[in-house]
């Protein structure tokens, strides 16, 4: 399973949806994921990919991590995996 599918699976589980119902242009709000659900999703993503996601729940807009859509999240994670592989 590639990164995109695994991220979608985590988000779908959080939203209690089937992965096929989560599209790349979905927003977390549309999927019914609240702030606590978002933090839990990020935790699950960190565990899954063994990466650290620079997300601060106090100021989500200021974080160096775009959560505006599923596509943005997937792209951000792919970038983090790449970066953190290079530095480790």
């Amino acid at each position: 399973m590639n990164t995109k599918d695994r991220v979608i699976e985590i988000i779908a589980e959080q939203a209690v949806l089937d992965p096929s119902d989560v599209t790349m242009d979905s927003t977390l709000e549309e999927l019914g994921i609240d702030s606590l659900g978002l933090v839990e999703s990020i935790f699950a993503i960190e565990e899954e990919f063994d990466i650290s996601v620079p997300f601060n729940a106090n100021e989500p807009q200021q974080s160096d991590f775009d959560i505006s859509s599923v596509a943005a999240i997937v792209a951000g994670i792919e970038r983090l995996i790449q970066e953190q592989k290079e530095t480790s």
Binding site: L36, V39, E40, E46, E47
Partner: protein, 404 residues
């Protein structure tokens, strides 16, 4: 001042997963204490406790709820659901705005702490689940009850070790008696039966390795339990108008502080709390037929408590009955007074006085009628519930049978 009655009760503890099962077990003098089962129990010197058995969290809560509810919060919600269902109350509008929840708790989410300390210290992980803090905070139980039942009035958690529940019920009682709120949910819960929780208690060397035998000459310490007790306290006229079933009247309470020692109990502090309760409730001491003792089964508590009862009640001390149900469900610490209040309700409502089980040998220093090993029928007008906490913080409640 308003009169305050109990119109709902709920519990889960080692004796049962609801009030009827618990009362039946108490009446029959059954023991809910047994071998502890959890991870690393083989590294403990103390391996017995009053664990809640046959409990499947998945049957009561969904996955999302379980990710947020420590075991003590789960117990709280189970007891609250039973109590509020029995009371038949729904909270909306003005009632919701004024009704609140006050719960006792001592250790907070001990299982959550234990699991996550293990994960970062023992397993060397550097990341914990984001809900650790909302799970372990002491007020999680009260907060989740307020959310599930739409309680928007005064709500908080009281933490006074072994007296937490009695202090909590006293605060809720005061809010109803004063007219501030027509209905308050009150009680307490605790779940310390995990490796770290029991290991901490072991250190104090007050735990028994075999049984909790309050007031018996061969008693050798306390035994931990877990669970919750929750009650609906309602203003009498409010309950009467809607035709609610009334379990008992809460007649009064008193609180005191020993201001003496962080662990040793004080006869004076206990006596002041009992005397204050009689005064607050306007009860003559001869009206008290039953006392649910703090009765931990330690050498110090039981003789001090017996002396305090003798001091307060004088000659009437020989006429009243006093028993400790900790012999059956163990010591639920912050939840203990709430579960024990059930025995007081049964005494005044049903005329059944529950026994102190495990009683083998009389102790001249505890020369009271401790209702050894078998329940008794008696007409009890007033019952007291004692709670004397580590730290010397005491709270006593008085229940009265409703006339007619």
């Amino acid at each position: 001042m308003k009169r305050v009655v109990i119109t709902g009760a709920g519990t889960i503890n080692a004796l049962g997963h609801n009030v009827p099962d618990t009362l039946e077990a108490m009446r029959e003098g059954r023991c809910g204490i047994g071998e502890l089962t959890f991870r690393d129990v083989d590294r403990l010197a103390i391996r017995i406790g009053g664990q809640v058995r046959g409990y499947e969290p998945e049957e009561r809560f969904n996955r999302q709820q379980l990710s947020l509810y420590d075991r003590f919060t789960q117990f709280t919600l189970i007891a609250a659901r039973e109590a509020i269902c029995q009371a038949g109350l729904e909270f909306s509008g003005d009632l919701a705005a004024r009704a609140g929840v006050v719960l006792g708790n001592s250790g907070g989410g001990m299982t959550t702490l234990d699991e996550n300390y293990r994960s970062v210290y023992e397993d060397g992980k550097n990341r914990v689940h984001p809900f650790v803090v909302p799970k372990l905070m002491n007020n999680a139980g009260a907060s989740h009850v307020s959310m599930e039942f739409n309680l928007k009035g005064p709500s908080f958690t009281v933490s006074t070790a072994c007296a937490s529940s009695n202090h909590a019920i006293a605060q809720a009682f005061e809010l109803v008696r004063s007219g501030a709120s027509p209905v308050m949910i009150a009680g307490g819960s605790e779940s310390m039966l995990c490796f770290g929780g029991v290991k901490a208690w072991e250190g104090l060397r007050v735990m028994s390795k075999d049984a909790c035998r309050p007031f018996s000459a061969n008693r050798n310490g306390m035994v931990q339990g877990e669970g919750a007790g929750v009650f609906v306290l309602e203003e009498y006229e409010h309950a009467r108008r809607r035709g609610a079933e009334i379990l008992a009247e809460v007649a009064g309470y008193a609180m005191s502080s020993d201001a003496a020692d962080i662990v040793m109990p004080s006869k004076q502090g206990a006596a002041r709390a009992m005397r204050g309760t009689l005064r607050d409730a306007g009860i003559d001491r001869t009206q008290v037929g039953y006392i649910n003792a703090h009765g931990t089964g330690t050498a110090a508590n039981d003789k001090t408590e017996s002396a305090a009862v003798a001091d307060v009640f004088g000659r009437h001390a020989d006429n009243l009955m006093i028993s400790s149900t900790k012999s059956m469900h163990g010591h639920l610490i912050g939840g203990t007074g709430a579960v024990e209040l059930l025995a007081c309700i049964m005494a005044v409502r049903d005329g059944i006085v529950v026994p102190t089980i495990g009683y083998d040998e009389p102790d001249p220093e505890c020369a009271l009628d401790v209702v050894p090993n078998e329940a008794r029928e008696a007409c009890v007008e007033v019952a007291l519930s004692n709670a004397f906490a580590f730290g010397g913080l005491n709270a006593v409640l008085a229940l009265r049978r409703l006339p007619g």
